[in-house]
Symmetry: C2
Subunit: 491 residues, 2 copies
């Protein structure tokens, strides 16, 4: 039997099928700025539309690409839309998308150098770029993971290994003094989730109070550490936020570093979002002190405009990293000092470095930096609009590109609304804006007060988009607060 | 300023760039069966070839695609080559590759239903297919993760939560009795790695002895559990292998299930590789008993021929799963009962379901099942070749598609070689085969004896490939064992 007659999973019309997929992607990206940002459809309605049977006989890729075009693409949120400003999810630059296509096309398995020679080198190159950006000293280490949660987990795992090496063999059960971890009350939920996973427990994560600008108060950190020491616990790690998820706050990194040094604690910086400012020379001082960290989390798939999934952990010491993750097994074959299996928790992994390398080399550092800078200017624009409007108030400073504001319509003041009613209004405004297809935002809670959160990590957002969102939100809020007046006006 | 004049990361020649990438991928796949399987190049040599600067000004995607074609693609191991039979890494079916391209092209963020309505539905559809295949009862849950290590971790995390709920708040330090986990001495390293991560510790993972067919011995499991109970420890979980990484052994699942029920332990089945047989009706009895598991790990990116990365954890109880992973935060917005953020550890995630859905619908269940069946026949072919050859011996039965064998050349017997010398020979044979570009295999250690491991999870491997590998290995081994005779013959 020749290879040709042999049944494989190869496709007769591979070139055409790839071309069809490429056209679908191009069409999607070309129309990404069209409204609506997101279709209004429920899970149940959509489940009735998307074909759900696993057929015995295949339909062939042409037919299935057709299904994607008809039933999947339209119900895929336009995350690259200029007014998608939710979570910290970014519009990917299309060069990153192409890099990611090549990643799956080459399908490397760089757990071992042999499984992806070029992929292994690319990971070292890309990590080198980030280590340089973040001022890591010689002997640094790093790993590319799926995103911020995994990147934070990797940092905390090495922290635990270094500060409680006996845990590896004996488990957390073998510890006499419970480990305690500190993060500001603005910390990302992945920090607590990681602490729970690692067996540290929610009760041993301290939410250190933050100031009015949502930054951790160093004195409060010191107090908490002393308290825990007196109680016989073992303070071992502080997670500093460099771009908090709610407001983009940057903790006082040099102060925290000094406390960590004095108290012999690991300093992990969660710069998943904020780390992108390190790409722009004049913005770097915003994160001054980050070079003192023992580990840093930073996500290319956030404000670097690389498509999902892509996160990075940098380590001050590659030796500590390898000590934590070294993987040995006969079936893995002979060791190569560059094997990526020794650098992280998972074994099989895609060549995620490729899309970062591809995007950065295609666009160049300065072009991406210009977009980051402009996103910050757009945030200042929105912040000023809120300051200048009598019914709006920013809920916190906006040091990076996230703005949280609260709208209190004068009609509500006249009507004697409670704070709770005004809280509810913020959510209604966001939901109505979303239903209109104009923009996708998320809510925020700052110091117990609800607001609208606008996260501008989007290369397509213009000043006009910001004005449109602000005016539309204001109009919606006004109308909700004066339903009768509005109805009258409409008649 | 119009949108057009505004600097974004959009590409002027998007269609052409996508087309160039598609052509590169098509060319790669069309030539995937060409030798060598892998280039012989060192990390240092390759690092000198791949462009490593982060340029201030971008080179544009055309130029960078050219760099990929010249410097990356040639040094990317041909994992789809018919004689790539290393680890458990499979040749992806090209329809899966197209599905993965569409995944990155649509760039969904289905942590929340809003971030990917279709992606959320697709994840439920695909998980439903697997839950059905594995006989999960009503109320099942599941999650799509990056691969087997994460899938095992997710299973063990829920196991810990259910059997030691206090750990969530108080940490493992709060436990009076240390948790103990059981896996056969053939268990995948990700099980111990997960136990270390979870704070259980290596010392609390029992390697239960296996029989001559590499299957866990139920009686030994019972003995170990009793011993731990007597010592005041808390046996909480057994990980059964359904397709062990070294030989493809399937543990006696019904016996293990009975012990777990009797001893009130969680039963997790690691079917990362072996789970694929559930796709073929007549092969399902091989994993009889798997339907009794509390959680199952199974990897679409292994023997289902889907490109990296894609793993799945199935849970008997979605309620227990949600109880473990529920994620709440103001900035995440209003809850939808289908939000994927509540089903797994990470938050941001790609739409991995799409490539599975795309590949399965394109090929149909039966076509993939035929390939799986043929891979098993190829394994039997190789096993018989080893049995029939006086110098070869299989090191273990080959119940699925992995064959481990040891070559003892008669010249070595005549020359009085030690076992260690024969061990070393196996590795030399594999390395020389690899250097020749003919095939990529990995070594194995079975009951302390080294061998050659051939993992046939490849839709392109033919009977002729198996014969070629067997004959080439034999020739290499013979020549190494008789260097003088060979040199004489060659003169």
């Amino acid at each position: 039997m020749t290879r040709k007659q042999f049944e494989t999973l190869d496709l007769d019309n591979l070139e055409q099928n790839l071309q069809q997929a490429a056209e679908l992607i191009a069409g999607r990206i070309r129309a990404i700025a069209c409204d609506p940002v997101k279709q209004n459809i429920s899970f149940e309605e959509l489940a009735a539309i998307i074909p759900c049977d696993l057929p015995d006989e295949g339909h062939g890729p042409e037919a299935v690409i057709g299904e994607v075009a008809r039933h999947i693409e339209p119900y895929s949120t336009r995350i690259g839309h200029p007014r998608f400003l939710a979570w910290i999810t970014t519009s990917p630059g299309p060069a990153g998308t192409i890099g990611d296509m090549l990643c799956t096309g080459l399908n490397q398995a760089p757990l071992s150098f042999k499984g992806g020679p070029a992929a292994t080198v690319l990971e070292e190159i890309v990590l080198g770029w980030f280590a340089g950006m973040f001022g890591m000293p010689e002997g640094w280490g790093g790993t590319i993971v799926s995103g911020g949660t995994m990147a934070n987990l990797m940092g905390l795992t090495v922290a635990r290994r270094v500060h409680a090496p006996q845990v590896h063999a004996r488990g957390m059960q073998g510890l006499e003094r419970p480990l305690v971890l500190y993060v500001s009350d603005q910390g990302h939920m992945s920090v607590t989730r990681s602490a729970v996973l690692l067996g540290i427990g929610e009760d041993n994560v301290r939410a250190v109070p933050s100031d009015s600008a949502c930054r951790m108060i160093p004195h409060e950190l010191e107090k908490a550490v002393q308290q825990d020491r007196r109680a016989g616990r073992l303070p071992f790690c502080v997670v500093a936020q460099a771009g908090s998820v709610t407001t983009g706050a940057v903790d006082p990194l040099p102060d925290i570093a000094a406390i960590c040094r004095r108290e012999n604690m690991w300093m992990h910086v969660d710069a998943a979002y904020g780390g992108a400012v390190m790409l722009a020379d004049e913005l770097r001082p915003l994160l001054a002190g980050i070079e003192l960290a023992d580990s840093v989390c930073v996500d290319p798939h956030k404000w670097f405009f690389v498509p999902l999934e892509c996160g990075i952990t940098l380590f001050r010491s590659r030796e500590q990293q390898l000590e934590t993750f070294r993987a040995k097994a006969a079936y893995l074959g002979a060791e190569n000092p560059h094997d990526l299996k020794n650098t992280t928790f998972i074994l099989s992994r895609a060549n995620r470095a490729l899309k970062v390398w591809f995007a950065f080399r295609s666009y160049g550092r300065l072009r991406i930096a210009r977009i980051i800078r402009r996103n910050m200017e757009l945030a200042r624009q929105l912040y000023r609009l809120m300051c200048d409007h009598p019914e709006w108030e920013p809920l916190a400073p906006a040091p990076l590109s996230i703005v949280c504001g609260r709208y209190t319509p004068s009609a509500a003041v006249r009507g004697g609304w409670t704070e709770q009613q005004i809280d509810d209004l913020q959510l209604q405004m966001i939901e109505e804006l979303e239903r209109s297809g104009t923009a996708l935002l998320t809510p925020a809670a700052v110091n117990g007060r609800a607001g609208v959160r606008v996260c501008i990590a989007n290369h397509r957002t213009t000043p006009e988009d910001i004005t449109l969102i602000f005016n539309t939100l204001t109009a919606i809020g006004t109308r909700i607060a004066r339903p009768d007046e509005h109805e009258t006006a409409g008649e």
